[in-house]
Amino acid sequence: MRVNPYPMPDLVAALNQAEQADEQVTLELSSGKSVNEPSDDPTAAALLVQNNDETTFNASYLQTLSSINGQLSDADSTLSSIQTALQQAISLGVQGANGTLSASDEAAIINQLQGIQSQVIGLANSSYEGKYLFGGTVTSTPPYTANASDPSGVTYHGNTDVNQVSVGNGYQIQVNQTGSQLFSAQGNGVFLALNQLIQAMQSNTGVEAAVTSLSSAANYLSAQSVFYGNAMDQVQSQTTYLNTAKLQLAQQQNTLGGVDLATAANELAQDQTDTQAAVEAISKFSQMGSLFDYLSSS
């Protein structure tokens, strides 16, 4: 069989291929990515889009968690302060229930109780980063104003709506309790109980009963306040979970689209050897000449 007298095109094609492989590996090494175009690995390219989405949301959720934690923690410590004030009011009430007090002592107690009432109103109007904590979703105006004509001594300007904040895929945490829930709940309101205690001291009747009511209201408030501790626990758990997920996502991104430097460096060395070999083969062929070089004129 006659041999193909033109080996050069095949050799050049081999050289081209070696050079192309060389170029590809060099690109991967310099970009650090094994997937520079979707055609490099279509499945990985699609998954990298998803990975970027999850990674971005992961960071966003972590930021949100940190933000609401501040809010929850603030509300929680405010409620603690309110409890302290209520306990003070209760011990004052116990003193006042003692029938042996002088008129001026009684007046002093009433004064202190009124001070505590103002203090509690002030605390119930706490705000965090410009938003009132206990007005439900009415966050731009203070939820409580003093109202002498109301049996509870206050008017509530907030609403009963709560906010759920998304902190994970399909996962939401409630971030507030409303004032109506905490302080003015039917039959358990601390404002009502506190005002009734003051009125009882002023009229000097039913002080013991008022103290019992206030105690019971304070306990109710305490039970409701547990919400904030629980919410902060949820925030903590989710933060831990998301931090782990963050590491996994970073690993996944690397697996899908990152370059293994050791492997790539090896490949580069191999490609360069192939290129060299092809170049040498071509140069040997071009030196070979033909029979014409050996025929002298006879």
């Binding site: 970027n52 949100t64 906010n163 998304s166």
Partner: protein, 461 residues
């Protein structure tokens, strides 16, 4: 003729044929690198013998013809593979251009979708924050802008491909007209008994060039000519006449290819013209359509979610994105943010400023199957996969086709390629024969001189 003059003529025939054979070899060597050249071999035959009674005396050597060595089956295969290879490479280049718009997972439309919904997520704990709201509008603007750019780039590419179609058709017409002309020349030359080797080589070369453009089948038409038609039967060359193709804008705004009054755009199967048409009419519209569906589905879902809530002024939410066209086409090219006032984002569920209840609905637009049963980010990642897969497959096919083409070319070269070594050896052979024949002439010439001087007194004594 017999006798010495007979012998002389025989020697002369040898000189002549050796010379012609040398010329043939020299021609081969000169054309060693001419593309499409088929090596020529002199077909030497012994001259018809003359009968003298029972004796048959030979009459020397005759150069019957100079034959071009070709394998017609290989030529057909080469044409077919050239058509496929050319189509694949054209498609590959175009697909690679398309995919540059979808290359990064951290920038581009996919990342924009992520950033838009992530900026909404930031609003969840702090819905009244104007600066966070502005970020949402900025992210929306980036998303719309990138949709616009992607659609525009695809349309521009489509326009470029349109031009390619026109250019390819023009080249096809030039080649078919040249081939028809060659058919005429070859048949005329054949009639006068001339050698058509060079013209047939030219014809082969032209058909090969034509194969890079369009799927053409060449059927020999008897007197050395060739009839050309596309695989679906459109005649391009018949006899000495060529049938030019034309281009005309169709109702879809693209250039259609016509043979006479027949629209053959969808009947072409090979060559760069078919490859270009495939990308222009199938791939690009396909990607555009998916982008339109994505833009439209996303915009509609976000707008519907916004309408369920209340903005910072207590009013029911309006459109965040300009309403996409009802038929979806053009949704990506025309996507726009409809509002500039960040307070119009409807985050509230109850009309109070502090409520974030509707943010969940807005976020749900990103996690619900609002684009043909897929979430926006899934729809996008799907698109990336499809484009990458198409490109990767075409690349593999083009590589394989290129290798087959190279192998066929090698085979053709082993049949028709000029081997310098072979030609050198042949030349030595013909040179020796020439030298021997000239010796014969010298010898006979001396003998003739002797014969002429017969009976003359020799001057040697």
């Amino acid at each position: 003729m017999s006798g010495l003059f007979g012998a002389l003529n025989i020697a002369l025939s040898s000189l002549a044929t050796s010379q012609e054979a040398l010329e043939t070899s020299s021609n081969n060597v000169a054309n060693a690198n001419t593309p499409g050249y088929s090596r020529q071999v002199p077909d030497l035959e012994a001259g018809a013998p003359v009968l003298y009674g029972s004796l048959a005396l030979g009459t020397g050597v005759v150069l019957d013809k100079i034959e071009s060595l070709r394998d017609p089956i290989l030529e057909i295969q080469l044409n077919q593979q050239t058509q496929q290879n050319s189509s694949l490479n054209t498609q590959l280049t175009d697909l690679q251009q398309i995919q540059t718009g979808f290359s990064s997972s951290t920038t581009g439309i996919g990342a924009d979708i992520t950033n838009f919904f992530s900026s909404l997520q930031q609003l969840s704990p702090d819905p009244t924050n104007l600066s966070l709201r502005q970020s949402v509008l900025t992210a929306a603007g980036n998303l719309a802008g990138d949709f616009n750019t992607a659609a525009t780039n695809l349309e521009t590419q489509r326009g470029d491909l349109d031009q390619s179609v026109t250019q390819d058709v023009s080249q096809i017409n030039t080649l078919t007209s040249q081939i028809a002309n060659l058919n005429l020349q070859i048949s005329e030359l054949q009639n006068t008994g001339g050698g058509t080797n060079e013209l047939v080589d030219q014809q082969t070369n032209l058909v090969r060039q034509l194969s890079t453009l369009v799927d053409v089948q060449a059927i020999p038409s008897g007197n050395g000519g060739v009839t050309l038609a596309t695989s679906n039967g459109t005649t391009l060359v018949a006899g000495v006449q060529s049938f030019a193709l034309s281009t005309e804008a169709g109702s879809d705004g693209t250039q259609h290819v016509f043979s006479g009054s027949q629209d053959i755009t969808n009947t072409l199967t090979g060559g760069s013209l078919a490859g270009t048409i495939q990308i222009r009419d199938q791939e690009i519209p396909g990607v555009l359509n998916q982008l339109d569906q994505l833009a439209s589905g996303l915009a509609n879902a976000v707008n519907a979610a916004n309408a369920k809530g209340y903005d910072l002024n207590g009013k029911a939410g309006g459109n965040i994105f300009a309403a996409p066209p009802a038929g979806v086409t053009g949704a990506a090219a025309n996507m726009q943010v409809a509002i500039t006032d960040p307070s119009l984002i409807a985050a509230s569920a109850d009309g109070t400023q502090g409520s974030n209840g509707n943010v969940a609905n807005l976020l749900a637009a990103g996690t619900s199957p609002v684009v043909n049963g897929a979430t926006p980010i899934d729809a996008y990642s799907n698109l990336v996969f499809q484009i990458g897969n198409a490109t990767s497959n075409t690349s593999a096919d083009a590589d394989a086709s290129g290798q087959i083409l190279q192998q066929l070319q090698d085979q053709r070269n082993s049949v028709s390629g000029v081997s310098l070594n072979e030609e050198a050896a042949n030349m030595v052979q013909y040179q020796t024969a020439y030298q021997a024949a000239s010796r014969v002439v010298t010898t006979i010439s001396n003998l003739l001189l002797d014969a002429v001087n017969l009976g003359e007194a020799s001057t040697e004594d």
